[in-house]
Amino acid sequence: MSSTAKAPEVVSRPEQVTVPPTTTGPHKQLEYVRFQPRYRVMHACMVLSFITLALTGLSLKFSYTAWAARLSRILGGFETAGFIHRSAAVLMFTVFIGHLADIVRTKKRQRRSWGEMLFGKDSLLLNGQDLREFLATMRWFLGLGPRPRYGRWTYWEKFDYFAVFWGIFVIGSTGLTLWFPILFTRLLPGWFINVATIIHSDEALLATGFIFTIHFFNTHLRPEKFPMDITVFTGHMPLAELKRDKPREYEELVASGGLEEHLAEPHQPIVVKTVRFFAWIALGTGFSIVVWIIYAMIFAYR
């Protein structure tokens, strides 16, 4: 993917899009492939493990609510819930390590240096461009300017990414301490278990709260995408949406002439329906958890 600057536009017009020739039929429009299958699987695994961890973990954190006791029963009791929690943690660790391994593999395949990987164009690390876009976004929010022409990764997407990165590190390490307290207290004092409990629990609250509110809004609930954006599961994104949402990426793709190799035929409707079905479950669960957290924090706190 090459980068070419283009004049910013508020909304990309569909007419401007060079629609590649359709080969399979009049109704089939090719879609932009934003995520490779392995990333879709990874995200699905993340969703599964995250929600599982949240449910099982919060049932303990909010043990003083009737809901927690009920949930714990549904999950098979605190021991089973604990087992599920740790299994989900293993899955998340696997995703995390798999992701790191993928980065290394990608670097090798693309024969790029670490410098290029970390500070190059499509890096997820925050850079000057993000700062400029953030400031431009603030102006847009306040009606002082147009919508910035975002590229492949917006600054909030990068923030979400690193939030998870940080979260896995913080929650994961303290979680392991709580999982193997005898091992860890060979080195650490006993009260560190108490500290780890607070960190693990509050960071988990932050993660769940953030994902199920801010991330959900940023990605799914913002009115132009409402009720959800399933790109991360299907990997596909209508070209029109790409042009509208990430005009800079689109323009760069067009300019580099590499757009066509990123296009693919849409999924079968059943695939999309299935994806939506599961996305609904994930969304619904997430919202329920938020409601529960708010209830527990405000109405049932003690």
């Binding site: 909304v11 569909p14 847009w140 005898i182 932050l206 953030f210």
Partner: protein, 685 residues
Amino acid sequence: MHKIARRRWLVIIAFLAMAALAFSRQAKEPAKEQPKEPAKAAEKKEDPSETCLACHSEKTMTTRHGKQTISLYVDGKRFAKSVHAELSCTGCHSDLDPDNIPHPTPAKVDCSNCHAQEGKQHAASLHGKALAKGDSLAPRCVSCHGNHDIVPVKDRDSAVAPLKVPFVCGKCHSEGTPVQQTRNIPQHDILTNYSESIHGEGLLKRGLTVAPNCASCHTAHNILPHTDPNSSIARKNIASTCTRCHSQIEEVHRKTIKGELWEKEAHVLPACVDCHQPHKIRKVYYAQGMADADCLRCHANDNLRSKDGRTMFVNAAEMPGSRHAKVACSQCHSEVNASRVRPCETITKKVDCSACHAEVAQQYQRSVHGQLHAKDDPNAPVCRDCHGTHKILGKRDVNSPSFPTNVPGLCANCHREGMKAAVRYKGEQHEIIANYSESIHGKGLLKSGLTVTATCTSCHTAHRELPKTDPESTVNPKNVPQTCGVCHNGIQEQFSHSVHAAANDHSGKQLPVCSDCHTAHTIQRADQDQFKLEIMNKCGRCHAAIAETYFETYHGKVSRLGYTKTAKCYDCHGAHDIRNVNDPQSHLSRANVVATCQKCHTGATRRFAGYLTHATHHDPRKFPFLFWTFWGMTSLLVSTFMIGGLHTLLWFPKAMQMRRELRAEEAREAAQSSADEKQAGREAK
């Protein structure tokens, strides 16, 4: 007696001397005696008896009295051996005219001339009165003592020697004699029964002269009917009669006769003869005294009613199996008077069980039940309400209302919700019977039939129930550990060393006892989940702050979810043996704490034991690490959500605007495409 006899002797000598002077002038009277030999009047003054015996030693000497032929023979040898040998014949036959032969019929000898007291007693006695009435069968002195051959009672030849007394009395009082047949003697087979009795056996078979004979109880001369209040066998005197020999009997009969009650209140107590029937006294305890059969003559009738309509029927069939099988009616219904046709008509009071069950009665009087009864409260239960009346069964009899498994039902009669005792009760305990039945004790007793399980009376006592507030009550908090400890001895031992034991705490705070954690009537098995979970709240009632911090830890949270596998208060602190953590014997002392953790966390180390099981992040001084960690994390959360939230809020209007534009675009496109299609359609035509 001898002095009197001598004085009389002198008087008689003088009298005889005067009589001798008047001998020649004595008038001739028609003589019935027919002396065969002339009297040796000359010898009379030296030895008057010799003179008499000159004639009376003739065995064939008789006289006629009406149709009877009466022997006038006197055995001189025996007379010489008798106590009266020193007396002359005329000493007793004082009205005799020795010179006038044959003598006119002399008056009967009056022994009371010498034996005044005995004479007086005899005159007042049954025998004496009968004699006065002219009863021909009534005995005189001679009937028992003989006449010329009277020897001291201690002499084995005496007619009234102990061994002979039964036979002396038996002459008239054995079956078939005119006395027994024609006179009103309530006893029968007296001599037979006596000879088979322990008294008769001792006397007659073993020759034990101190064994009581007839006279021992009936007295020798003062024989009175038992209805006479002065009689030695009158109901109220019988005890003192028997105790003349059985002087320590009250010791043996402690349960029956308390102290001096026997003598002092004989009318309320059973008399000896109620159990030990007269004449039949055996070594064994007697089944019947005042004949139960007599009572049952009326009371066996199941239609028998009192004036107020109560049934007076007594089911005799119930008695043999009862605890009182060997107790006669009259022992409980003690005011009966055997001399009445209806012995029960003298009864004025209800049966007083305390006559025998004095200790129990004393307990009862101290109890709430007894106190109510003393106030004549109609709700107060009395002995029979729990124990029944005639069919009283021992507490080991499964059919007894006081058999352990029946006790809850018995108490429930009044203490079940809505019943008379439950209604007036104002305390904290409710549904006592229902709760008890579901408790570990209730299940053990009622479902498993384990009779050693605690029942109502095990804690409240059977007869001395007192309210919890009474310091003497077995369920007063002060006494509860001891009460429970009767069975749970090991637990009480542990508890006595704990911080909760009154002996170890001088803070003046109210200390928990068994029932504060285990409750009184809803006691559960301690290994049941519900109990394990509830016990934390029990600890938390006093240890509120420490319980709250416990619930902030993993242990507490899991417990709060309703699971019992994580450590609860008692897992670390002990259940009954809770000691101060500074006590070396505490489960949490420095020496023991690691082992305590290892109960669950195999491989736990001392460092691991440093985990703060009651940590709170609200106390910066005690737990600064936790406090600052918590507030650090909270700041992170708050700031992240604030920034994220603000970002979203600002975004929202713009996103709405985008949505509107998008929708407008789509509508325009749709219109355009439909127009295009129409255009294409028209072109095709």
